[in-house]
Structure formats: C-alpha cells, structure tokens
Symmetry: none
DNA sequence: GATGAATGAGATTTCATTCAT
DNA sequence: AATGAATGAAATCTCATTCAT
C-alpha cells in the first residue's frame, strides 16, 4: 500500500471513487454484506488496485469513518470568534450533517466497532470527538457569562452528549427515512435551553 | 431434523449441551464470531449432529441471546405498590445490577446486536425495556404529585434513559474493573434531582 | 479439521489419496510449485475436503514427512533381540529406504524446514531421529562387546550421522537418478568398519 | 530498463541502494521471503524504479547472496608454501572464521539455497568449496608423507567435510550464542588425529 | 531517471450445509 | 440419534509486472 507518498491526481480520483462506491454499497446492502469484489466491480477497478489504495478491507472503513471526522475538528478551529451560542449551534449542525451524510449504516458500524470486545483505541474519541468539542464550547460559554452557571459544565456536557448518542441510536433503529435532525432536534432543544438558561 | 417428534432423553441432553456451549461461546467471542465449528467442538458433537437438532444456524444464536434479557421484565412486575421515588430507585438499582451481573461482554453484545444492520425487532425494546419502564414511573410520579411537573415527562425520561445508556457505553469501554454503579451514579444523580425537584 | 476423532474407512482412504497425490506432485514439479488447487485436482476432491483432513497446507507437509518417520522408531523397537551388527544394518537400511521413498524433493524440504530462521522445534529430532537411534545402537554394541571400544561412542555416532546427512546432501544435489544407497553405501561402509573394528 | 547505456551518478547510487537494501533484507528474513515490495520500501523507491534498474526479480537475490561466498576462495590462494599440517590448520581456521563472520543466518541461507529444488549450479561448490580444498590438502599431505596413508584420501576428506557441515547444522539450530569453533573443534579434532596418524 | 497507478491471476482459507451410513 | 465425509462458493489478500507520465 502507498504510505506517505505523493499521489497523482489520477490516484486521488480513483481512491475517491472507491470510497464513494463503498459508501453507496454499504448503504445499499449493509456493511457486512459488502465484499471486496462488490467494491471493485462498483468502482471499476481490479482487486489489486484496491490494495494499492487501502491496507485492507477494515482499512477502508476506517478511512470512511474518519473522512469528515477530521473536517469536524478543523471546522471547529475556524469558528473561534463566534459567540458561544453560535458555536454550539454550528457544532450541532455540523455533527448532525455528519451523521446524515454517513447514513445509518456507517454510523451504526462506527458504534459497533467502538463496542467490539477487543477494545483498541477508541475510534469515536479519535475521529468523532463529540464530547471534547461540546465540553469546550460549554466551558467557554460559562466563562464568558453567556451560559448560565446553574449546573456544572461536566453535567451539562454529559447531558448533551448522551442525548445525541441516544437519539442516534433511536434514529439508526428507526425504519423510516426521517433525517437525523428530526430525531435529535426535539430531544436536544430542551437540553440547550437548560444550558443557556 | 427433529420436528415435533418424540425425543429421547439422550437427544434432549445433547440439544441442551449444544445450547449451553453456544451461550458460553457467544459470551466469549461475540455472537458474530461464533461459527458452527466452534459450537460443535465446544459441544463435542459432529457437525451433522447440529443439523439433527436445529434447522440452521440462523436464529439459534439470536434466540439464545434474547433469553438473556427476559428476566428483567419479570423483575419489575412486583413493585407496583411502592411510592414513585422508591419505584425509581428500585428500577435503577435493578437495572444497574442487571448490567453488573451480565458484565461488559454481554451488555456490549446486546448493543452490537441492536445496532446490527439487518434490523429485526429491537431486542432492547423487547427485553431490556429501559425507556418504557422509566417512562411509566416518571408519569406516575408526576400524576401523584410526587415529582415536579416543571419538565415534560418525555424530556425527563429521555434524559435519564440516555444518561444510563451513555454511561454504560463509557463503562464498557473503560479498561478498569470499576462497577457500573460507580460510573452511572454520579451522572444519574443530577438527573434524578431534576426529576424530583 | 478433524482432531482425535474416529475416521471411517472412506475418510482414511481419501486422506491417503490426498497424501500420495501430493507426494507425486511434489516430485513432479517441486514443492514450492505445488498449490492447493493442484492437490485437489490430482486427488479429485473439493478444496473444502482438503481442510477436512488437514489443518493447512503446511500441515500436510508435516504429515508427509512424519509418515514413516514414526514407523522407523516403531521398527527399532521390534529389533531389540538382534545383534548389534544386525541392528545397525537394519537401521541404516530402513533409513535409506525412508530417504528413497520420500525422494529428493521431500528430504530437501525437510532440511530446508529444519534450517528455517524461525527455528521452532526440530522436525528432524522429532520425526527422523537419526542420531539418537544410531547412538543407542552403538552404545549397546560397545557394551555387549560386539563393537570395538577404540573410539568413544559419541565420536563414532557423530561420524556416522554426519556421513549420512552429508551424503544425503550430495544425493539431493546430484542430477542423476541414482538411488540414495548408491551414494551412501560407499561412504558409510568405512565408518561401519571403524565402528566394528 | 537500462541496457548498456550511460548511467548518471544518481542512477548508479540508486541501484547501489537497491542492492544493499536487498542484502539486508535477505539476511533478515530469508531469501524466499523477500518481496519486491520489501525491497522498494527498504530502498525508498517506487516499484517502477526497480524495473528501471533490473530486468526482473529473478536472479538478483541469488546473485546477491552468491557474492557473499566469493571471498573465501581468494583467502585460500596464499597458503601454498606451508606444510600440510599448517595448511590444514589454516584452512579450518579460515573456514571457521568465515562461518562466524557470516553468522548463523547467512550460513543457513546458503544451505537453504543449496537445497532449493530448482537446482542450478551449486553455490557451495562454487563459492564455499570446502571439499575440494580439504581434498587437496589431504592428498598433498599423504604424498609428502606428512599424513598417514592408512585410509584413502577420499574417505578422510569425506569424513572431515561431513563433520564440518554436520556441526554447522547443529550450530545453526542451537539457541545459544556459542561460537562455531566451540561446536566444531571437539568433533573435528578426532578426525584430524585420524588424518595425521 | 523516477514514479505512482493499475493489473489480474492465483493462493490459502472459511464455513454453512447436505448426505450416506 | 449421531457421525464423519464431502462440498463449493465466496472471501481476503499477495505479488511480480506493465504502463503512462
């Protein structure tokens, strides 16, 4: 596999194609039923080519999960100057969009991976650091006086984080095609009120 | 395969052996990693014998792990006459004990099963009905005036449920041997205060 | 794979067929060029069947090597009552026959396996215990007065063993079809004279 | 590929780098486990670059390991004028030092290569010509009357050669760090006595 | 001179299942 | 009731090599 090497535009394009084909396949038939062969057929590449771009079948999954995970952190960097309220709102919006873009299949796979007996480093902690991000925003908000100090930041952070995760659980399980926002919003809103008030 | 035919004691014993071996295996390596071969080796039977007792592998593992959850509902039948506060306390205590008795392995199994793409009926909803139970208790408490009506029962229920699930996540991932209570208590306590106040 | 299980005559026959096909193939195209597919085609079995009888591709090689290796030891048991000279003769004859039956390919593979960097337990020590067997015979012969005590048994044993191994080296490398005996005899004979005299 | 064309200094350097990386790899993991990918990673080149410098993988590894043996023949040129005993002693000393300098890894590589099914010209015969060298020394010694003529030179040569090879086998397999001399000396000494007397 | 992209045949292994005994 | 034999599709991964840039 290619390690830290220069990639040509062509290579980048191919890799992207593989990833998007894979995402589509995962949505279509469920992650456990997607085979290497499927991916290669869908991407129009040879199996060897797959291994030119990815370490293994597990590897691509991680790359998919990571994908915009990295962007989330990056995005948070650039909103430093906003007010705490706006930050919180942006964070949640970004998060929700992440969920929706990935889709139920991949989000559930993310959780399943996280819950695997073997353990290993937490994927969520690394690529989808919901809690630390929320924590920072709440603390800043309390410091600046924007958010109420009625409850400890730890508690509020726990409340919001757990609510998001729990709602994503329900969303994953729900048979309907409703967006994640439509699940999360109504549950998250009161928590936000609690944070602000 | 054996249909509704007379079974010899020996047959019954063998079948039981298969089931209990399977349970052990599931706990040990996770339901998705248990193969027919594993089961047969563990049970000391030939592969053919398995098919003498079961139609296929599909289902038996699922059936087995479902059995694990049946107990809790029964446990909750008998607390009707208590006060809302006591009920809530008992419910949580029972729940926490359930988690601890089952252990991280099985609880994470349960979640992973729940998150499995194929769907199927929700195992948690059916066998570990945290939310409905909590919901009932909170509603009763508000009706009887014991609990504050400052927040909607839906919201409070969601808060508590999500907190428990989230904490169990953290507990499962934690490398230490701390009891589940030690995780959950400190996070749940403020929520309860919120419910009561 | 079948572990310590009863095997039906049919199974035994199949397994034997696989082994002999494999030996033939190894002789024919060299051990590194024999694939699972080759073996299965030659034996007329499905690939799965191979794994019913053998743990892995490496596994069959070990079984092939072992094969009569076990018989050698067994055979030595049954000649206890012979004279030392006769024992020595029988031992060498058996050994030479072993080499010839296995053929150059397999014997060389045995050595190559033995010389592998990874180490692991000595295959030769375990399955083709030339040295211990020779050692015992020489000691017995000296004790009983049949063999001369002019040289230490250790030295004589080392002489004979090394000679056999060295000659097998030459034999393996030789392009002609000469039998191993024709190589070994002329080199071993003087050593035997030395032992006896 | 580069044929007999002008090479730039950069090209020469790259080629040299490929070769030395390969040598290291061979020593490290055994010639048959070195892949093109290994070589390229180790050399820090792209796979295509390899084919810019070499026609194919076949041969280059072999060629490299052969280079290892070239030295010893040269070393033996200069002892013509010594007495037979001294020659023998020098020869053995040189040989033993050769083994020790190369180390177990390479010596076993050499043997394994020698035993490789494909055959090809004997590497040992060509580059580590133990037997011819010993043979010459013994014959000279018998001719000059220095060594006893009690046994045929062929037999004595075979005895000594096989002993050295056999002991090197044992040395390679031994897990301890003892020098090769400490293995060989005690086994070789009686043979030398036999040659001289 | 050097590179990354792409190949595709081929290798080993897994596994749920059927069958004859 | 129980068993070992046999299956064969399918899965993942390896690797030397060619090619366009």
């Amino acid at each position: 596999m290619i390690m830290d090497v220069k990639r040509t535009p062509k290579g980048v394009r191919t890799k992207q194609r593989i990833i998007s084909s894979s995402i589509e396949l995962i949505h279509g038939k469920g992650i456990e039923n997607v085979t290497l062969n499927d991916i290669c057929s869908a991407s129009g590449i040879a199996q060897g080519t797959f291994y030119h771009h990815f370490k293994s079948m597990d590897g691509i999954l991680l790359e998919i999960i990571r994908g915009e995970g990295e962007e989330i952190s990056a995005l948070m960097e650039s909103i430093e100057e906003l007010s705490a309220s706006e930050k919180l709102e942006t964070l949640l919006k970004t998060l929700f969009r992440y969920y929706e873009q990935k889709g139920k299949e991949i989000v559930s796979q993310l959780y399943r991976l996280e819950l695997k007996p073997e353990g290993g480093p937490s994927i969520i902690e690394e690529y989808l650091p919901i809690r630390p991000l929320i924590d920072r925003v709440i603390r800043k908000g309390q410091e600046s006086g924007e958010f109420s100090k009625g409850e400890s930041p730890d508690f509020l952070c726990s409340l919001l984080t757990s609510q998001i995760i729990f709602q994503s659980f329900l969303w994953i399980r729900s048979p309907c095609d409703a967006s994640f926002s439509s699940f999360a919003d109504k549950a998250v809103e009161p928590v936000i009120k609690l944070i602000k008030s």
